[in-house]
Amino acid sequence: MAKKIRILLAKPGLDGHDRGAKVLARCFRDAGFEVIYTGCHNTPEQIVNAAIQEDVDMVGLSCLSGAHTYLYPEVVKQLRDRGVTDIPVVGGGIIPDRDMQPLYDAGLKALFTPGATLDSIVDWINTNIAAKE
């Protein structure tokens, strides 16, 4: 048996700043994870369908346009609506302090803002996202 952690990395909404997502994709690859990167301009529906079809252990969202307060909870909600409760959603980007708690309340499992080191993100995944049985 050879379990691998599979992660969907996506950029929801109208934002083309993908450097951060690409750096993370590369970092996850180097950490031994399988990363499905779906690029920019994804809709929440596309992300949810991809997460289900790819049977990932986690969805990572990156958005730098300020629309995280709508887009991140929407992905969580649509996963729940589809009966998916075992795929945690994690977000990153420029998230003002006042938005943090509402996002956690909406079901985001972790949020990583500027200054978060790559190692700290990989550590969080290794600790919190055990590959599925």
Binding site: M1, A2, R29, E34, T38, E54
Partner: protein
């Protein structure tokens, strides 16, 4: 595990994706699910698409999905990208090109990493095809990793193999080498608006003029221009799909599908024997530490690999 197989038969997406995942992870008892679905396999048309990295396989696959969906047929895609030989991690990026189909319930896309397999595919592709087949997909597209000359395992799994060529990759000697150029049922010259496309067309043509086609099928060459002109691009890919259907009809008419099916089952029994016989022995040797001992003996030149293998065989194989 058999339950998962039953749910996959009903087209349950979560069951299908979990089953493919279990096949990839080699979860114990996954074979029980495959045993359950195997009798229902063999219905879908399996199309392989292969070629060098960056040749345009994913973009062609994306457009091909449109052509197939326009005929109201459903599509399953397995897209393979390489695993890192160092970390075992992988960046699977084929899906980016196929995003517009993410909301279409008639399309199922799955990305797979090679996980050490050397033939341009993942070991999970063979059984993965079965799963997509029994979930009811009419056409299954298997996109290989970007290949070189020799990674042609796709011929053991696909009914129709598309080889994607692009201009600027070498002279006509490349075209007459063995391997990749021999496995095509259809050649695609992609990015045909680029310089050198005409020359590549002629070289591919003259390569084929030198060949023999015992089955009676001479691979056609389809020229596809840049996807930056969406209309002409779509039209070329529609033509490509016509050729794909022609090839499938040809195989059916001549009873050649059986031959392709035979290649697949040969591969499957080969793999199944390996996992039933070789892997348990290897695992035992690794667990007991004997494997490490053998490595040390070899490093010290106390013995050789063949003597060791004979000893292991004498111990485990009942003749």
């Amino acid at each position: 595990m058999e339950e998962l197989g039953k749910r996959a038969l009903t087209g349950d997406i979560r069951a299908v994706s979990r089953l493919i995942r279990n096949i990839e992870d080699q979860v114990p008892n996954t074979h029980e699910a495959i045993k359950h679905i195997f009798p229902f396999t063999g219905r879908a048309h399996v199309v392989g698409i292969t070629g060098a990295p960056g040749a345009g396989k994913s973009t062609l696959t994306d457009q091909l999905i449109c052509s197939i969906r326009a005929q109201n047929k459903t599509v399953g895609v397995m897209a393979v990208d390489p695993s890192s030989p160092f970390t075992g991690g992988a960046l699977l990026g084929d899906r980016i090109r196929m995003l517009r189909h993410a909301d279409d319930p008639g399309v199922f896309v799955r990305s797979l990493a090679t996980r050490g397999a050397m033939g341009g595919l993942s070991k999970a592709v063979g059984d993965g095809i079965h799963v997509l087949d029994v979930m009811g997909k009419d056409v299954i597209i298997v996109e290989t990793v970007g290949v070189g000359q020799q990674e042609v395992d796709i011929i053991n799994h696909a009914h129709t193999v598309l080889v994607v060529l692009v201009p600027g990759m070498g002279d006509e000697v490349q075209a007459i080498k063995a391997g990749l150029m021999e496995v095509a049922d259809i050649f695609i010259i992609n990015k045909a608006d680029r310089e050198g496309a005409r020359k590549l067309y002629k070289e591919t043509l003259s390569m084929m003029d030198m060949g023999k086609f015992p089955s009676g099928w001479r691979p056609p060459i389809v020229m596809v221009e840049s996807n930056m002109e969406p209309h002409t691009f779509a039209k070329s890919v529609d033509e490509l799909y016509e050729k794909i259907q022609e090839h499938y009809a040809f195989l059916k008419d001549r009873n050649l599908l059986q031959e392709r099916a035979q290649l697949k089952v040969q591969t499957e029994i080969n793999d199944a024997l390996r996992s039933a016989i070789l892997e348990p022995v290897l695992n035992k040797l690794i667990e007991s530490g004997e494997f490490d001992e053998m490595v040390q003996k070899l490093l010290k030149k106390e013995t050789d690999p063949y003597t060791l293998a004979d000893e292991v065989a004498a111990k485990y194989l009942v003749k």
